[in-house]
Symmetry: C2
Subunit: 100 residues, 2 copies
Amino acid sequence: MNKIEETWNRINTHKGVEGIIIIDSMGSAIKTTMDQNKTIEYGSLVNQFCEKAILCIKSLHEEEEIVFIRIRSQNKNEIMIAPTEDYTLIVVQNPSEEAS
Amino acid sequence: MNKIEETWNRINTHKGVEGIIIIDSMGSAIKTTMDQNKTIEYGSLVNQFCEKAILCIKSLHEEEEIVFIRIRSQNKNEIMIAPTEDYTLIVVQNPSEEAS
């Protein structure tokens, strides 16, 4: 199994992980554990979201790049986003729940 | 000094904090330690950003509300956002730097 598959499986079996998506720079999904509708919806929202976040950081420090975004909700649902130039990893989890 | 002023000063003197802004639900600044241009720019970007983030969370769990967003950049600059229905607190910091 290659490194990517290993990492993918490690994240996917981590406690409380509800879904993982990898999107390209256009927001289109390359790999996902979520259903198609949710994947498309998420991909596009997170893509737009990252664009705004990058503008935010660059208005602070021109040379900066974002490495991590965490969104936490009232009932402990979390969306974690790791953007790179070509791909963005999105992990949806609820740490308080047992592994699915 | 009232509770809000106390909290404001406590955050403002915290190590590495570069700026604090409170915006209303339209993105207009109510209180800020940053210069006017940066405040206006930030207020609008973070407001758009929060709207996308809320859509993200609600597409996952309809009844959910966001309580915290953290954006971390390569050189450890951080934007922390605490949105509520009426106001959003934005703190810009670089934990690795000494208090300004």
